[in-house]
């Protein structure tokens, strides 16, 4: 049963690569957005807030189709990226990473935002009276205190990215070795005769990755409370 075939390994490794790249690129953007939402009032804030959560409530196939329209080779962003920078998203693993990044973004941003909101602004004021410019206040006080939330957001985003299916398969299809992640491999296997055992193996792998992510996230959350209470 636990003899994982090369094709399955390819799918597992691709999933890990796609999810890692998606998380690493989405995290700095997520921190910036979370900080803006937690600490600044600006025109259109409610709209930005709604846009970020949209992938969570839209049917994934809709998000995937919108990505295809925007970032496909003929999409208005995709065409520009291809002409000017030679970057292609459509039917490539990079497109899978983009889809996963967009789909996991709300889950990534939320814990970061909450943990930034939980940082006492009085501490930030104290830092500024000690001579810290706003960006240094952020780097030396806000971010370290919010770090457990950042890690929790990364873990949740990563777990979501690993499991993403609908938007990915709509945007970049299901090409073994290029865009076939664990989820799309399982989807192919269960529609293939005699694919059940292989599908089950990948199911077990998925459960393992997801559980590990949740436990890690829980540990980070516990450290957050400790840190904020100064023990």
């Amino acid at each position: 049963m636990f003899d994982i075939s090369p094709t399955e390994w390819t799918a597992i490794l691709l999933s890990l690569r796609v999810a890692t790249v998606a998380t690493l690129i989405a995290t700095p953007i997520g921190i910036a957005v979370a900080w803006l939402l937690a600490r600044r009032d600006f025109w259109g804030k409610a709209l930005v807030d709604a846009l970020i959560y949209l992938p969570l409530v839209l049917p994934p196939v809709v998000t995937g189709y919108l990505l295809l329209l925007t970032f496909g080779k003929r999409g208005f962003v995709g065409a520009w990226l291809y002409d000017h920078l030679g970057i292609v998203f459509a039917f490539r693993w990079t497109g899978a990473a983009l889809a996963c990044g967009v789909m996991s973004f709300p889950l990534l941003v939320r814990p970061i935002r909450l943990s930034i909101e939980a940082v006492d602004r009085k501490l930030e004021q104290a830092a500024s009276t000690l001579g810290a410019a706003p960006w240094r206040v952020f780097l030396t006080v806000t971010l370290p205190l919010a770090l457990p939330g950042v890690l929790a957001g990364m873990v949740l985003g990563f777990a979501k990215a690993i499991g993403e299916f609908g938007a990915t398969i709509t945007f970049v299809s299901n090409i073994p070795g290029e865009t076939q992640t664990i989820s799309s491999a399982i989807y192919s296997l269960i529609s293939t005769p005699d694919g059940d055992t292989a599908a089950l193996r990948l199911v077990v792998v998925s459960i393992f990755i997801a559980t590990a992510a949740l436990i890690a996230s829980e540990l980070f959350a516990r450290r957050a409370t400790q840190r904020l209470h100064g023990n």
């Binding site: 006492d120 004021q125 500024s128 009276t129 000690l130 001579g131 410019a133 205190l145 209470h229």
Partner: protein
């Protein structure tokens, strides 16, 4: 020398105050709600006045007519808050060192030792703020503000959160601070006895206005 002449509206509350302090310790005296904290937040730059001027040693910190506002991190004004506000993720040593690092000052071990000895916090250096008592936390907060080498030190009821016993424990340190540190201070309190011991000059605030100004003796006249 600190010169303040400002007006600020906060909701329904109007703060309007003008004074010049030359003493070593200016006591800002008044009941809670008199506008003491708002006034020193304006001096610190944490709050912008609606109108007016704040200058320190001839340097303009706020001048609304000229549109000038120096942000708090460039004022070199230390601030000790009632609730200490130590950074919970840093130990005492790192808290003490924070102002020096942010201001890009060279390490001054002699000064560090003087302050640590003055406040008697040498034994606490490796502890986290969460493991300190209220009085210890406040002493570290004094040290942290002093070591940023401020031109002026603001103290907002630094003993306010402590019980009588703790107050008596801290007061001698404050007297030493006044006599040895050589930094002018603005000391906010609603406790006349405390100010009689520490202040060299009194600004009395009531309902957002200055009702008396002068030596410590103004504390004896009813506000």
């Amino acid at each position: 020398m600190l010169k303040v002449d400002i007006a600020k509206k906060l909701g329904e509350f109007r703060l309007k105050a003008a004074f010049t302090s030359e003493g070593r310790v200016t006591g800002l005296f008044g009941a809670s709600g008199a506008g003491k904290t708002s006034l020193i937040n304006i001096i610190a730059g944490l709050l912008k006045p609606d109108r007016g001027v704040v200058t320190l040693d001839g340097e303009t910190l706020d001048d609304t007519a000229a549109g000038a506002h120096i942000p708090p991190h460039r004022r070199r004004i230390g601030y000790v808050f009632q609730d200490a506000r130590l950074f919970p993720h840093l130990n005492v040593r790192q808290n003490l060192d924070y102002g020096r690092r942010m201001n890009g000052l060279v390490e001054d071990t002699a000064q560090h030792k003087r302050v640590v000895d003055l406040l008697d916090i040498g034994a606490l250096l490796d502890r986290r703020p969460g493991k300190l008592s209220g009085g210890e936390r406040q002493r570290v907060a004094f040290g942290r503000a002093l070591l940023s080498k401020p031109r002026l030190l603001l103290l907002d009821e630094p003993l306010g959160a402590l019980d009588e016993g703790r107050k008596l424990e801290i007061l001698p340190y404050l007297v030493r601070l006044r006599d040895e540190a050589g930094i002018p201070m603005v000391y906010v309190s609603h406790d006349a006895a405390e100010l009689r011991q520490l202040a060299t000059q009194i600004v009395m605030l009531k309902g957002g206005h200055i009702t008396a100004f002068g030596g410590v003796k103004v504390l004896t006249t009813p506000p």
